[in-house]
Symmetry: C2
Subunit: 347 residues, 2 copies
């Protein structure tokens, strides 16, 4: 029911995912009349979904604290609860991010060893597979060194399962790559993530800067939710600015219009490669269950992309793998003595 | 002497600026032989410069704390001191940012009422004049509500003098536009900046998000140096990624190559409009003197752009105007009682 385009975009997205994934069935939560009407338009959904009727909706402006207390009976609550009950393998929502995280926290509970869950996104990059993982992009505005260390473990696990990278390279976002740069908790996290690298099957590249986020230097970018959220939106804003300027430039003369015509397939290919809708889906990590947050402005293509990610993670048993990884990683970090030879930064 | 391209790029940049600004003279600090050799190649520099010979150089990797203690005798020290002595109106350097800020702090001292100076940059935007001002982008990794308030005053003054905007619109960077979002110091700064708007001749639009940085919603973006630095470099990284993808796309087929040929002038125009070298020059605000930090990787075009900005600010008497603004703004903020009608966020 949430999201800027309402039921229509969500059900159309579900229909696309249903068409592409014949073995999958769907639980759709919300206004049963609206959903049934929209679903009837799609042949691919025939006998493939079940409506869980709810009559309350979480608004995009509702405060998370309010939703935590009064959220029962909303479509969002019902969606998360289906994962808790084992009826659904993964939850997908386009709604209010803060409210979704709050409901996920109280219904699914934090995984053992996790203090602050995180939201991870796939960020277009120069890597061969086209993406990097960044977390946290906004689950919490704070993160201490222990949280950042858990983000590293969770991010590595997500890169392994979501992007098929056996030994992900992890970077810690800072204002410089030198050891003395940045806040105290970053220095401590730098040491912890470096020390635990070998035992947890990832490579640690040390501090990275904002310019490295879309680079091929790393696979996973670890940062606090405030910085990550600003960076994510700044990246989107920059892409929008360039797209805008590009349109203006091509409108300018008859030659450039002709150029744009000839360049059409290239521009289309480019748009496909940097289309934010294709990577739609922030994943909540660190809970007893997988929840995917699709962009509020997502259209059917965006919703379908988020569902596709949900299907992949469910098939791989991601939730269980992640829980095991955090548990053993936390143990390892306690067991491993500081070994400077394993930390490139401390050399 | 600093910067990635050394004396050559700097002197070539000075020569371009000299050619464009007949009334201006230059003090060039560093290795007198190298500088003289390079300067001899440019007719525009004839009788227009003076060499201040120094035999030490601040390295790009030197720690600011080390340079603060041992910086005397370096070209950077000499450059800043020329402003202190009144020999130069503005200092321009391509060197180590942290060291330049440290030397500027001890030689020029902080302006009355400023606790943390800031670095402000011009950010390409959808505004009519093509740019927004953002600060702090890395002078300090911390900023409390009082610092953020001073950044607002300084940013407004810079937008007025550097971009000719009589009533700049100021936004405070956060992870959401709702009043309850973000850290406590942001809530307090939100109130302070809002309350002082009318008395200080700017408009306050409230909290903004990363996506608004290149938008036409604001003229000045206020944030702490950690977040600002990450955002700045993320924006640059995103632009690089898109440029890279664009080249790839246009290489793909004979049609798209033909398209690229026809589109050449458009692409050139676009590149001109988003060329980071054209906006080269972070300005240090909050000191008793103006210092401009050019990008370390700046070529002659970049250096010339930074010098052009220096000339404009010097002609306008920017340092004096800014000092007056901070002094009266600080007074005003103490005088003005909380008036919710002046704060859009508190309505």
């Amino acid at each position: 029911m949430g999201g800027d385009h309402g039921v229509c975009a969500v059900v159309d997205g579900v229909a696309r995912a249903a068409h592409k994934n014949p073995g999958i069935r769907f639980l759709i939560h919300g206004d049963s009349v609206e959903i049934a009407q929209q679903a009837a338009k799609h042949k691919s959904l025939q006998d493939r979904f079940e409506i869980r009727a709810t009559d309350k909706v979480v608004g995009m402006e509702d405060k998370p604290s309010h939703v935590m207390r009064h959220g029962k009976g909303t479509s969002m609550y019902s969606t998360v609860d289906a994962v808790r009950n084992g009826d659904a393998a993964v939850a997908v929502s386009c709604g209010n991010t803060g409210a979704l995280m709050a409901l996920s926290m109280i219904r699914l509970r934090k995984a053992l060893g996790v203090n602050r869950p995180a939201i991870a996104v796939l960020w277009p990059s120069l890597n061969e597979n086209g993406f990097n993982v960044m977390l946290d992009v906004g689950a919490d505005i704070r993160a201490d060194e222990h949280d950042l260390f858990k983000y590293a473990l969770m991010g590595a696990s997500y890169a392994r399962n979501g992007l098929n990278i056996p030994t992900p390279r992890i970077g810690l976002l800072n204002v410089g790559t030198e050891e003395h740069k940045g806040r105290p908790e970053l220095h401590e996290a730098n040491r912890m993530i470096g020390n635990a690298a070998r035992a947890n099957g990832y490579e640690y590249v040390g501090f990275i800067e904002g310019g490295d986020i879309p680079s091929a230097r790393v696979d996973v970018i670890v940062t606090d939710g405030f910085t990550g959220n600003v960076a994510l939106k700044t990246g989107e804003g920059t892409a929008n600015l360039i797209a805008h300027r590009m349109r203006d430039s091509f409108k300018n003369s008859i030659f450039s219009r002709l150029g744009a015509l000839f360049a059409y397939t290239s521009l289309k290919r480019l748009r496909y490669r940097i289309d934010p809708r294709r990577v739609n889906g922030g994943v909540f990590l660190g809970l007893n269950g997988t929840v995917i947050k699709s962009h509020g402005a997502a259209d059917a293509t965006g919703v379908a992309a988020a569902i596709q990610l949900a299907i992949q993670l469910a098939k791989l048993g991601f939730t269980e793998k992640l829980a095991a990884r955090i548990a053993s990683g936390s143990l390892n970090s306690q067991d491993i003595p500081d070994d400077p030879t394993e930390t490139p930064q401390n050399k």
